[in-house]
Symmetry: D2
Subunit: 366 residues, 4 copies
């Protein structure tokens, strides 16, 4: 490795937005300029910008005052894969590998290394560019906190705080009206947000993909609470929560229109199902949706993002390419991109946090 | 009027919960006890408690520390009308006027006057009890801010602040992904929450029941912004927003299942419709739902609620029964329940606030 | 008046910063450009920029995304008076009237009208420029809400919400430790912030400049609460609160150092005084300070600012110069600058809000 | 160990209040009752309650709805040490060891084990009771996060979030007025809150007890920023920050009154000192004070507190007395009270977080 050669680095953000992206961009840019004298550019709209050679210079001024802001000043796309990219050829839309165009652009601009901030899809491409000889450093990003090799990802804490505040709000309504309130939060494959916000927000039931639920067990919990004088119940459900095999699903939705609209999500369905089982009980569902992934970044996530950003720049300085920065046992470290791709870190069904929740009486519907 | 006779008063809350209810309860109770030496009781679960003679004593201790909390410590039901009440008779469910049972209960407990906090339905019953000779004072409650005779209702400010924070959060995602983001807020008959939060949250389009929208005008606004370099658009839509007569609705939903689940609401439908018209534009809908009506009450609403609560107690002291407290031109006043029932205060389509919004470029889809 | 002549307008912000300034700037700029086709510039750092002809163009892009931000993108100074301005002449600092330089600059840039956003000092200069023939529109700004001729000023609601949240936080500590907690809020001449946040934050004692306090009455209230089983007391004190003439002040501070540091403020002194009177009672003071005037602007203030900004631009369009926009009985209006200068709108000691507070048991220390 | 004997446990909270205390109480109580069938009582006002045998039963109802609340429902005192307790004897105040009275009370009530939640002082007594044969489990509590043997203490995250929001607010004012703004946060012996909130809140200078500052270095940083076009500077200072030996302190405070009031703290002094060095620069100090230790508990702290509470109850069940629960490498564990007392966990001056801050240009005034 010839470290001394680094003169110019690039950044790009891929995948869904996430509180903390701007804090990473700020930390990389400031460390690169102030500590190492690198020039920094940022590609616009993720890999698409790399393909189109569409970038902006990242200066101290450009990253000033962005540390607390959600979103990404570099914009992001959650589809573009340059190794299988949709292009127009002879009037037709075809898919082809355009990664060499990207590599050519990097060379043309004299970019010595690139920091790629993204989730599993974005980092898979990062690994592929690394395999083709590009100096790549990955920074893990997923609001769902489901990347292996790193214990916490930025954005997760903000999402949990937002979801918890929503639960606090729903509590007062649930109690005043003796209602069952369901809150659907993000988490397609992993129930981290549901588990954490459910614990923090004093949920009575938490439904996550890792523990398939039995609808009647959920109903039992509600009825048990009623018998004990608690006339309301709070349920947090991850969007990827699934019923047990063979679970009786009562309500059905048939949407056979030619132009079906997006239906509500699992929370609405669960509410309908539960109303079938438990009579005389008002049940209301709320889907938190995009609110949990934007806006002011929590202090916790700003600090984590800053640590990742500085560490990524240090890896560049040390010439340790092909790696992703990680947080392990609260220490910043790194791991080979080759190793971290393609896995999901899910909640262990008998891990400490689940045990903790069960100890204080939380039901997982199982 | 024989003012001196008041010794004991009662309170009840009816209809959907609303931030500020507890602050009214606290203000009535403290004023009644500290200033006038009244005894105070609170009926549980609105009129249902009055019918069942189910109440709790309201003491200084009981109302201590509740001023900032959403919900109502007296619980609430949004269905029960004692003049047309569902009771079981001879094994059958029938509807009948049970108001005399309630009046009997009031007499039995020695209640000299009752403060009824609620929306149009609850206050209609209050008026009916007043007609039957009960000493009633009404306190207006509606998160939608659509009661005539009073300029602002408590809970509205909190709802607007919550909706505005949601818009702030959606902005960062919309901008980062060049998306159209729709936020559906409450307002079945009046667009106050949508108008206020839309103005505060820098929405580009605001759709309210009072101004039927033309889908293509909404699409035009989005496309105009794109041409001007603004690749994202923020739309706030009141749940009661309606298309113009004859407006082409593109997407359709057919839910002919025997057990239909509650579908998403107008925002999901609008998103589907717009995606039909505007190609290559990601559109996402979020329904704020119950989050906007619970939780910590804003300082503004706590003050307004306290003013209403004190004013209601003063009306009792002065023997001015059959009235509802109001806020007019920022002054506390009152008006006969007979006059205020059955009307909805809607947004004037050419009022100052709409003009203000249009002046800064907001589209109402018309 | 020849309305048609307006082609270019200017904006400046003077005095202390205040949440809502940016929303006014945004509203004026958008209305001017979108509705009337004016060109808009903004002088930097208040009148100082007008004197130095230091300005920036205000475009739609420049005001994009600023509506929710505290502070002012035009910067502000709270000292500069061009009619009595500190300049260097022949190596000496002298004060002189440099208003003609400013007028010359306005002419040179072709500015047809100027919107001046500020408090009493800033608006006094605005009036003086108006007297000299400049087309001026004033927009009232004071976090203290103490300007006459307008019922509410922007920034006030945000300050009250911040102070109320601080009181909510202090409550838990006060209660857990059986302490007296004092919170000092802004308000040198008027007690509006203290009164509103005190009411919203369930303060037991509110001390404001308009009602001089008797230290022993404050102590009595604390002791009365103790006897009634409430071992803690929350006191909000405006920075300008004053003891009654002849009130015994127990603790004294002698700071006769050559370089005295700024001492804590009235809350610290009050805490010391009260500890002298009430034995065995922990008393703690917190001074909210600058936290109450910056940061995210509340939805309420954003709307009010937007209404003011649009109204100011309409006054320009209508040629109604020499006026300040106002809010009266919740309606936007205007009044002559000549009339509104030099007065302070203080809390009426026997007004409705004070009566409301007294009714629920709040002591004003009198 | 005879685990099976546990029938009744007690809880007490000692020292300053801290967000998360109630979540610990809730978790211990729920786990003890629901999982192990223990009876639970809580001593009132810390050790004082243990001495006076002043306690309340802790039931599921009693701990319902308290998880998000700051403070402690058991109250707390931060002075009482039963091994050196102030009592009246023969009309005189003397200090004596009254721990046997406490032990007698525990026996009288049949308390088999006690969970003591507190900081170093409170836990020292816990260890001493353990030495005398009482079954004690410690739960670490310090908002300053400076206890060894555990990586994070609850309350710390909430404090950092509150301090960071304050910094966000101060930023807008600093920028609008080209000011230097100082924020003083808690941290007498350790700079954790200052370091974390400073990093999160984009502070330019962070002053902590672990790195003595040179006033002129701080001034240099401010002036360097001015030269680079940044006319404002944000400084976070821990209350325990200290100047280097021999550092020239310019401003002096002499308070030789017989009744000196509490002076402002280091931030006021620093502001005065800096104004001596840097001419023509407005400098303002804000002391965050008690606001950072009360109010709504962050989701992060609620989860951590719940984990601690459950773990403490498990240690009781397993008969592992004389230990304190800890968090190490994000795993719940425990360590002997004998080992954890009397040490402070301070910021390592060359640790990763300090390096991270320096990398992005933060000055520590050294």
């Amino acid at each position: 490795m010839q470290e001394q050669k680094i003169k110019k680095i690039a950044l790009l953000t891929g995948g869904g937005d996430c509180p903390g992206l701007n804090a990473v961009i700020r930390a990389v840019t400031r460390t690169a300029i102030l500590k190492y004298g690198y020039e920094v550019i940022g590609y616009i709209f993720g890999y698409r910008g790399l393909y189109n050679n569409d970038f902006i210079p990242l200066t101290l001024d450009k990253v000033s005052g962005i540390g607390h802001k959600g979103g990404t000043i570099l914009y992001s796309s959650n589809k573009d894969n340059l190794f299988d990219y949709q292009v127009e050829e002879n009037g037709e839309i075809v898919k082809k590998d355009v990664s060499d165009v990207a590599i050519e652009n990097l060379k043309k601009e004299g970019v010595d290394a690139i920091v790629v901030i993204g989730g599993d899809g974005t980092l898979t491409s990062a690994r592929d560019f690394s395999r083709k000889g590009i100096n790549v450093i990955g920074v893990p990003k997923t609001i769902d906190n489901d990347l292996p090799a790193t214990e916490v990802t930025f954005g997760f804490n903000t999402a949990v705080e937002v979801a918890t505040e929503a639960l606090d709000r729903l509590h007062t309504t649930a109690e005043s009206h003796h209602r069952v309130m369901l809150l659907e939060v993000m988490g397609r494959n992993a129930g981290w947000i549901a588990l954490h916000s459910g614990l923090a927000g004093s949920a009575d039931v938490i439904l996550i993909p890792e523990i398939p639920y039995d609808l009647h067990k959920v109903a039992e919990k509600i009825e048990m609470r009623q018998r004990e004088g608690k006339k309301f119940t709070i349920i947090v459900v991850a969007e990827g929560a699934k019923p047990k095999d063979g679970d009786v699903v009562v309500a059905k939705v048939v949407d056979d229109s030619p132009d079906p609209i997006r239906l509500g999500g699992i929370a609405n369905k669960l509410a309908a199902d539960l109303e079938k089982i438990i009579k005389n009980q008002e049940i209301r569902a709320t889907i938190l949706g995009h609110i949990q992934r934007g806006g002011i970044t929590s202090a916790y996530d700003r600090i984590l993002s800053t640590r990742y950003g500085v560490a990524a720049t240090e890896l560049i300085h040390e010439g340790k390419f092909g790696n992703m920065v990680t947080l392990k046992e609260d220490k910043i470290s790194y791991e080979a991109l080759e190793k971290v791709i393609g896995h999901t870190r899910v909640v262990e069904p008998d891990g400490e946090l689940i045990q903790t929740a069960r100890s204080i009486g939380v039901s997982f519907g199982d």
